[in-house]
Symmetry: C2
Subunit: 348 residues, 2 copies
Amino acid sequence: MNGPGESAQQRRPVTLDDVARAAGVSQPTASRVLNGSSRRVAPSYRERVLSAAQELGYTPNLPAQAMARGTSRTIALVLSLISDPYFSAMAAEIMKQAEAIGLHVSIAVTERQAERELDLIRELRGQQPRAIILAGTGYVDPPSSQALIDELQRYEQTGGRVVLISRSDLPFETVDFDNHEGARQLARELATLGYRNCLVLGSATPLLSMQQRVEGFVAGLTESGGTNVRVQQPGFSWAGAREFVLGLSDDEAAQLDLVFAVTDDMALGALAGLRERGLRVPEDIGVAGFDDISTLRDVVPKLTTVHVALNAVAQEAVYRATTTDESLTRRTVPAYPVIRASTPPLSS
Amino acid sequence: MNGPGESAQQRRPVTLDDVARAAGVSQPTASRVLNGSSRRVAPSYRERVLSAAQELGYTPNLPAQAMARGTSRTIALVLSLISDPYFSAMAAEIMKQAEAIGLHVSIAVTERQAERELDLIRELRGQQPRAIILAGTGYVDPPSSQALIDELQRYEQTGGRVVLISRSDLPFETVDFDNHEGARQLARELATLGYRNCLVLGSATPLLSMQQRVEGFVAGLTESGGTNVRVQQPGFSWAGAREFVLGLSDDEAAQLDLVFAVTDDMALGALAGLRERGLRVPEDIGVAGFDDISTLRDVVPKLTTVHVALNAVAQEAVYRATTTDESLTRRTVPAYPVIRASTPPLSS
DNA sequence: TTGTAGGCGTTATCAC
DNA sequence: GTGATAACGCCTACAA
């Protein structure tokens, strides 16, 4: 299988030089037809270069190109967790958008450790990406984030773009969805349906966007007339929500007619916990979340939530990552409630 | 905010040269202390270089390093779909493993278009990654895949590693899970529980691993004594499975006591379809899948499936992607059935 | 339109 | 131990 074919035992990748030599032209000429912009090369040369490249299986060495050009065709994406359906959906959309304009995506994951973020970004900066997109981290208290800001600003000063998604804690280009308004509208609709005694599950991790959701929900409920709202901050996860719900006293649980969690993930955890303690959803208690992740389609009852147009967010983010229009600095994508079976109208 | 600070309006990234100059040493010396391997540099110099790098915020230019060294610290990962929970879990594990040994991961997605695979790989090759990992594509008929093989072999000849996950259609290093055996064991356990009349939902897309699951399941059922098995090939998706189930006649549906789908995703689609036509799961009919994706935890009833140790697969894959031990060429990670509430013992 | 020369940031080779 | 010097593959002037 590895016999001494015509070019079998080759060791070195095919370079532009090889192509040029094979085509009998100079390196810049080959470069112009294969990778160049203004393609004014004689058709005969052009032809020869093309077929030589084809023959040899030439692929441009991207690192070399990046170095020579001073800029790469890579976008660096920083996520907190890729296995989370919310973030994987986000990543998918961003990759789709990036690919549509010929950009690669390099992904790095913080695993929800805020302190890793800085190291990660420094590493990524070394890749000389065209832009760095930070999605879905972002803490409420901006203490040690000064180092992060410095790092990102340094990156921007060298011509890189920084785009934040769903975190308004740093002074950079930001694409947000309207956490506050989405949660507020949800609360109003739920109030209309008759929900009065609500448990709001926020996040023990002080994330800004989650705080906005809590505030929006409480605001919406308050506007809709007097209600009992109790805000709690369990661990920011499925397990955290579940455990919190399991820890409620029977009295407390009995008085509730709704649990709103700041993410669908947590809402599902709450749902699981409620069921474990014998409560039926939605007959005994309603549940609502936020994000409208796709895996909700398999959950019974269908979960009421707030839908976010992730594709619009991704498109905006990539657009901002690749354009240099200084006029835009922030864009908020709408989020709107979707009432489903987990919160039917309350008859009582 | 952008005042004329000490180094505010800088335009060019900090290079090794800058660090060397600031430290008063030569470029090679700076290189040795910051990135080099054999670190025999005088402590005093070492100190100065380190603090200069710190001061200036130096980060090595990875493309430049890659070019100089002839090899990068990147692994390229090709997936068919990142938003799928199965693949995002896989990606997460691979990234974790890669990161543990200081490697970056660059992800590309075929969006399930087989023909894109070749272009994608050629592009990726240009990034000069240390290895290319292909996960979860792989068709049964290997017709046009010759071009793919050529491309990958060319890449290997230049020192790159190629690792396949869950596809045995190409002559490269492969990490597989035991699709056949996992499905076979599942079938045997279900037969023991009393299931006799089974609908098997394979994949209209001719994927090798899915075919193996079908064959394994049928084999297990056959071994367990005479049963009625009907194999069908709906579209390879949640929607495909759902639609197929909805298309069954009432007679056909009534005769079944089990639906096995080759992926959890499809099993959930079937579950949705069964419910839409008024069947209760598991009272009227059992459902089983394959993969044990994490989102199953929120599905009621809990789904019987075949568990795959993704972390073991990922670890193997990354190991093979970074080692050059020629002796190993294939490894099969076990897969084992997990019986849950969706397939209770049949009393009848 | 085409070729020559120089440079991108880093590492490797080799004298000192 | 340390510092010149020559690569790595490509691109962008510039000159022909």
